[in-house]
Symmetry: C2
Subunit: 218 residues, 2 copies
DNA sequence: AGTCAACCGGAGAGCGCGCTCCGTTTGATG
DNA sequence: CATCAAACGGAGCGCGCTCTCCGGTTGACT
């Protein structure tokens, strides 16, 4: 009809339905298995052929971007909120704990935030927005005397990685096990302290540790 | 000739030469890439066909066992030596640091010690010998008042995992970066302390962190 | 109702992996 | 030197993965 309709036409109803199914399935699959689950898996979960997945998201990266666009924004908001704590130490502590929680709840987020293997640009931009906030968190907490003066912003990122890795390792056996180690690491980050702050939850027993090692593959 | 020669005959000279080459190649390959490098890789490194590798080591596990038999013994010796420190805290500290160093130097050792995906029995036996020593280390360090009283043996294993993961992450960019975090975690493990103990080495700068994220795949 | 572009599913090409099989080569032995 | 079990290498099978292609189907629009 009208020759000039270059803008995006809405999807056909079935196509839109499938698009949503795929996003939902991909979310679940990524959360459980990380960003490297197979496209077949996602298609199967969505009750759809692989062809359909590829038609809507011709590259894996596009699927990832569509899924995580808003979740990345949440991270930025989270970091910003950490700057509003009255006690700057609480800002750091809350940040480390919340960020680790996110990683444990969703393996996909972990892969996305700590690697640049997928979805390069978008993630990079997010990181660029978070970095200065983390540095400000560190600066304030050091000024208040609570955070040891010899750590810097990049150390915080590596702490996140460390704790996220631990969360990954123990997830299947004791989903809350990582919280103990957040406490431990935070005690290491304090400038000086008397008694150690109590650790959250119970330690793994020998059998649980065995189970962890048994089901983890490198 | 003599009918009853059931014992193992020595290998032909070329076969023995190849066996050694394969072990050497596998050692290098595992150290760099972990226990899941492809058999083709190992064969190529050894300058040998895959068939030859499989002839000598019909299952991957056998190759791993042959390679790590004595290295596992070294770990036991290491743990035992930690009990000889005059100050029990030094025992813990040295153990955490040495064990992490081993993991960073050899990715294969890391996979072997922290997972049960390969070489089940042998590793399990080794772990069974190490566990009580670690528990004794913990007990003594706690009795001396240096180690916080709320950690247990299994926590130490998870600390090893955490630091090993970090070593893995940063290895390519800054092979010594993990040492900072050993210091950090050890400060978290102390019962009480004044000034934080100085961290080893320089922190990563922003570009190095970027490089780490860029080359890591989950 | 009829038309047709958009959409669907899944077969299959291409790839790298673990592992096997077999025609050829080599070193030990008399 | 002749013999032959032992060892060699790599082609090849089966598998699971990514991504493409195409014959059949379906929803939007007249």
């Amino acid at each position: 009809m009208c020759a000039a309709a270059p803008a995006e036409r809405p999807l056909r109803r079935d196509a839109e339905r499938n698009r949503l199914r795929i996003l939902e399935a991909a979310h679940a699959a990524f959360a459980e298995g990380g960003l490297e689950v197979s496209m077949d898996d996602i298609a199967r979960r969505a009750g759809v052929g692989v062809g359909t997945v590829y038609r809507r998201f011709p590259k894996r990266e596009l699927l990832i971007e569509a899924l995580f666009e808003q979740r990345l924004e949440e991270i930025v908001v989270l970091a910003a909120r950490m700057l509003e704590h009255d006690d700057p130490w609480d800002g750091i502590a809350d940040f480390v704990e919340s960020f680790t929680a996110i990683q444990v709840e969703d393996r996909g987020m972990r892969d996305l935030l700590l690697s640049t293997a997928h979805a390069e640009r978008r993630v990079e931009r997010t990181r660029d927005r978070i970095t200065p906030m983390v540095e400000e968190l560190v600066r304030r907490a050091q000024a208040s005397g609570a955070l040891r003066p010899d750590v810097v912003g990049t150390d915080v990122a590596l702490v996140h990685f460390m704790l996220g890795a631990l969360g990954d390792y123990t997830r299947e056996v004791q989903p809350e096990a990582w919280r103990r180690f957040v406490g431990l690491v935070l005690d290491g980050l304090r400038d000086r302290r008397d008694a150690p702050s109590p650790l959250a939850g119970a330690p793994l027993d020998a059998e649980q540790l065995d189970a962890v090692m048994r089901c983890w593959r490198p």
